[in-house]
């Protein structure tokens, strides 16, 4: 790891050089070091999930299932989903960026429960390793949704082991969620009122509430599948007297809000980055803040829109449909406010800002195609087709991963003390944007044509669209690999960042990069509104030189 060197050559103390033994990392309770542990872990799991995705796209180059057997194909797409959702998308922003930034942004020395925070990483790793072990020992073929009675009575794959893994990972999210809620409530710096909080904090607060309320439900539900599978106790399988639709209600009661667990933190990142590189306060701060809360609340009441074709009553369908249209409104409000933030700003085209602009375009497409699925009549046709696959990848990749990459680049100088190389970072952002659209735009057309998801074989007339999609996936893969190289390169060779290379507001920028172990020399006192960019013209001047090696006190 790199070490920030002050002008006169003296090595400054920071959280990275506070200890260099393996144990000093494995037993750390420093939220920043735990964030780094999480960063390494989620990156590894993302690589696994990404390779599985490439296998899927390779297989779908031809209509026949010729690269692998159907049995293996089913395992590959299931594990792609399980790894990406439980091991990457849910923890990525909260456990890496949130862990690092929540205490810094509220002016605290650490999270409220540092040991619980470390426990969360161990529980996550235990769950991740069990899931990985299940993967190498035969894998699991139920789809990440684990629908019974297939999962409980028919599948011969490693369902129980995978469920135990997912169950454990759920606890790691709960630990993180509890930590954020308590920290945000109790550990804000003097003067940091609720409406002076960065929107990143509001987003993580809303996310944590969903995590704490929702995760236990899915944990219990998955455990019930395992119980039915192992002890043949009838819960979901009608042959044993159970009800398979009950599972779907319980599963989606968590798993729809889980979508917001994955997207809300990204929205928090967008607010920070768009304000910084527009040099303006986020437009409609209160509306953006409360829209996160609105999404968290209404998001719990829309789960039935995953079940319009199951035979649930027409009236239940109408209620869930109506609520699904309502939950779209706060998301739209956010998009309009971010766009308005750019109006009359001073916009700087840094890599994080490119990701934000990409996010705005892709999230709008992802959100609006969600209306097709909230709408009852069109959902009948599109449910369980590639239209749904394309829709949620626009949200999960175009939204969450773009937000994650924006945040990772934006706070990379803070985390490492070094600047990433700007030119190649911008190139990677453009490649990812192009590759992503080429991969998933054709899938909307495939879905409208009727291509069901989770299909190993498909009719020949759809091959051209699949070839386009696979070509896009290859491009996307290249785009993802680039940051791994240049970010690692920057650890040694990047320009020194200094405390505030972007001239950004926010407490995290008022301390060293990388920060000292206890974050601040003395507890900061907050006297101004968030995003007070108008008051910071001088800092702006300092920041205009790219990665100037300013190491001010």
């Amino acid at each position: 790891m790199s070490v920030a060197v002050a002008k006169h050559g003296e090595v400054k103390h920071n959280y990275l050089n506070a200890g260099d033994t393996v144990l000093s990392w494995l037993l750390t309770t420093d939220h920043k070091r735990i964030a780094v542990l999480y960063l390494v872990s989620v990156t590894l799991f993302f690589a696994v999930g990404g390779l599985l995705a490439l296998l899927i796209r390779l297989e779908l180059l031809t209509p026949q299932g010729d690269l692998m057997t159907s049995e293996n194909y089913n395992r590959v797409f299931t594990m792609h989903g399980v790894v990406m959702i439980f091991l990457f998308l849910i923890p990525a922003i909260p456990a890496v960026l949130g862990n690092f930034l929540v205490p810094l942004m509220v002016g605290a020395r650490d999270l409220a429960f540092p040991r619980l925070n470390l426990a969360s990483w161990y529980v996550y790793m235990a769950g991740g390793l069990i899931a990985t072990w299940a993967m190498v020992n035969g894998g699991v073929d139920t789809g990440w949704t684990f629908y019974p009675p297939y999962s409980s009575s028919y599948s011969t794959s490693q369902v129980t082991l995978t469920i135990i893994g997912a169950f454990l990972i759920g606890f790691s999210s709960i630990f993180t969620g509890i930590n954020f809620i308590v920290t945000i409530h109790k550990m804000r710096a003097p003067g940091l009122t609720w409406f002076r909080l960065p929107l990143f904090i509001w987003a993580h607060y809303a996310t944590s509430v969903i995590i704490v309320l929702g995760t236990p439900v899915v944990a219990i539900t998955l455990l019930l599948v395992a119980v039915e599978r192992v002890f043949r106790l009838g819960i979901f399988d009608p042959a044993l007297g159970g009800d398979p639709i009950l599972f779907q209600h319980l599963f989606w009661f968590y798993s729809h809000p889980a979508v917001y667990i994955m997207i809300l933190p990204a929205m928090g990142v967008i607010s920070e980055v768009v304000a910084c590189f527009s040099r303006k306060r986020v437009f409609g701060y209160h509306f953006v803040a409360f829209s996160s809360v609105a999404i968290a609340v209404i998001g719990f009441l829309v789960w039935g829109h995953h079940m319009f074709t199951t035979g649930q009553s027409v009236y239940a369908g109408m209620v869930f449909s109506l609520l699904s249209f309502l939950v779209a409104v706060p998301s739209a409000v956010k998009v309009f406010n971010w766009t308005a933030t750019m109006y009359k700003g001073h916009i700087e085209f840094r890599a994080p800002m490119l990701y934000v602009m990409g996010f705005l375009g892709l999230f709008v497409i992802g959100g609006l195609t969600g209306l097709f699925l909230a709408s009852l009549a069109t959902d009948i046709h599109l449910q369980d087709t590639y239209f749904v696959v394309a829709h949620f990848h626009y949200i999960m990749v175009g939204g969450t991963i773009f937000g994650y990459l924006a945040g990772l680049h934006f706070w990379w100088p803070k985390m490492t003390g070094r600047m990433y190389p700007e030119g190649i970072a911008k190139l990677a952002a453009l490649i990812i944007f192009a590759g992503f659209n080429l991969t998933f735009l054709p899938q909307f057309v495939l879905g409208y044509l009727g291509m069901p998801r989770r299909y190993h074989w498909y009719p020949e007339e759809w091959q051209m669209l699949h070839v386009m999609s696979s070509a896009g996936a290859a491009l996307l893969g290249i785009g993802y690999i680039l940051p791994v190289f240049y970010l690692l390169w920057s650890l040694r060779n990047g320009a020194l960042a200094g405390p505030n290379p972007w001239g950004a507001t926010g407490l995290e920028w008022k301390t060293d990069s990388p920060p000292i172990t206890h974050n601040f020399e003395e507890t900061p006192i907050v006297t101004e509104e968030p995003y007070a960019y108008e008051n910071h013209h001088q800092q702006e001047e300092v920041a205009s030189g790219t990665g100037a090696s300013t190491a001010e006190a």
Binding site: G65, N74, G143, Y147, Y150, D237, P238, A239, P244, K280, R281, G284, Y285, H286, F287, T309, T310, G311, V314, G317, M318, S321, L322, F325, V329, A332, V333, T339, A340, M342, Y343, K344, H346, I347, F349, M357, I365, L368, T369, L371, F372, A374, S375, L376, A377, I380, H381, Q383, D384, V445, Y448, L449, G450, P452, R454, W457, E460, E461, Q463, V467
Partner: protein, 335 residues
């Protein structure tokens, strides 16, 4: 690569209605995507750092704007909601009386379809154009989903309970039938074809017992003509007698069991006072788990037939019970 498809076939009345809504939503999506992308790019260029464009009058918030851009998505959403809900209520609501009734059994990994006259097909369904078709569906194992993209119709096929759906095919042709709910190893091979035929051609097909098939047949699928020539009702009647259902269920309500004559579609009062409609799901449950809903005035004495009847034979029994009309004279006996 064999040809390129960009638009699906449109072969049912519902498909035409859904497409109108689909294209409306597509227009909304394209409009707002271009609007936001256009604004983002315009602002990014015009207000790039160092540009001379005036920044005077920049605001931090504006209540009118906030209300405006909350109401726009809300209004569009409500319009689409009402529009879509109406279509949904029609599609998943009760079918017209003249609907052709087909029974569908899904199992890993094939579709089994039964026509009322006894013709049975695997992975193929022949139906006439212009007449509503009602499907009553059940799975023998895991959850499947009956999906015909050209009709824009999809309905999950569940184990343990009937799901129904109906549609009116409009255009003769050969259309994909897919299983849309992941059901295990051969999920993507649980596919077939729906043949929509001109009514006259369909009559010929019926008369030939399902032999006169226009399309090519893949191995392992097709009509099992000759295996069962008896109609569903006839097969059900035979089974009804064989199981001696009539020992307790007579032409009129008896001491041991209620009569099945004229039962289907009627409201039935249960011992606990609730009232249920005697539909297919009720009949199935009462055959397999008789004690779940006991009719008011009767003792819970009927034995369960769970495990003794497969889904196909249960369907035959139900078809026969549905065919039992109330004898004419009982109507005259009423005061």
């Amino acid at each position: 690569m064999k040809g390129v498809a960009l638009l699906p076939d449109t072969a049912s009345t519902f498909a035409q209605q859904v497409d109108l809504l689909f294209w409306f939503l597509t227009a909304v999506t394209v409009f707002f995507t271009l609007l936001i992308a256009g604004l983002v790019l315009y602002f990014a260029v015009r207000y790039r750092r160092g540009s001379t464009a005036s920044r005077a009058g920049a605001k931090e918030t504006d209540l009118r704007l906030e209300i405006g851009w909350s109401m726009i998505p809300l209004t569009v959403g409500l319009i689409v909601f009402v529009w879509a809900a109406k279509l949904y209520a029609d599609a998943y609501g009760p079918p017209p009386d003249n609907a052709l009734e087909i029974f569908v059994i899904g199992k890993q990994w094939m579709w089994h379809l039964q026509h009322p006259n006894g013709i049975r097909e695997n992975n193929e369904l022949h139906i006439p154009a212009g007449r509503p078709v009602k499907l009553t569906m059940i799975s023998q194992d895991v959850i499947h989903s009956f999906f015909v993209p050209a009709f824009r119709i999809k309905r999950d096929v569940l184990p343990g309970r009937y799901n129904t759906v109906w549609f009116t095919p409009t255009k003769p042709g050969k259309y994909h039938l897919f299983c849309a709910e992941y059901c295990g190893t051969q999920h993507s091979r649980m596919i077939g074809w729906v043949y929509v035929m001109e009514p006259a051609e369909y009559e010929k097909w019926l008369a030939s017992g399902g032999e006169a098939r226009p399309g090519a047949v893949a191995s392992g699928s097709g009509t099992m003509a000759g295996i069962s020539t008896a109609s569903l009702v006839q097969a059900g009647e035979q089974l009804y007698k064989q199981l001696r259902c009539n020992a307790c269920h007579g032409a009129t309500d008896g001491q041991r069991g209620p009569s099945h004559y004229g039962l289907f579609g009627k409201k039935v009062k249960l011992r606990d006072g609730t009232v249920v409609v005697a539909d297919e799901a009720y009949l199935r449950e009462s055959i397999l788990r008789p004690l779940a809903k006991v009719v008011d005035g009767y003792e819970p004495i009927m034995p369960s037939y769970e495990g003794l009847l497969n889904e196909e034979r249960t369907l035959q029994l139900i078809a026969y019970i549905k065919s039992l009309k109330k004898p004419v004279q009982t109507a005259e006996v009423k005061p």
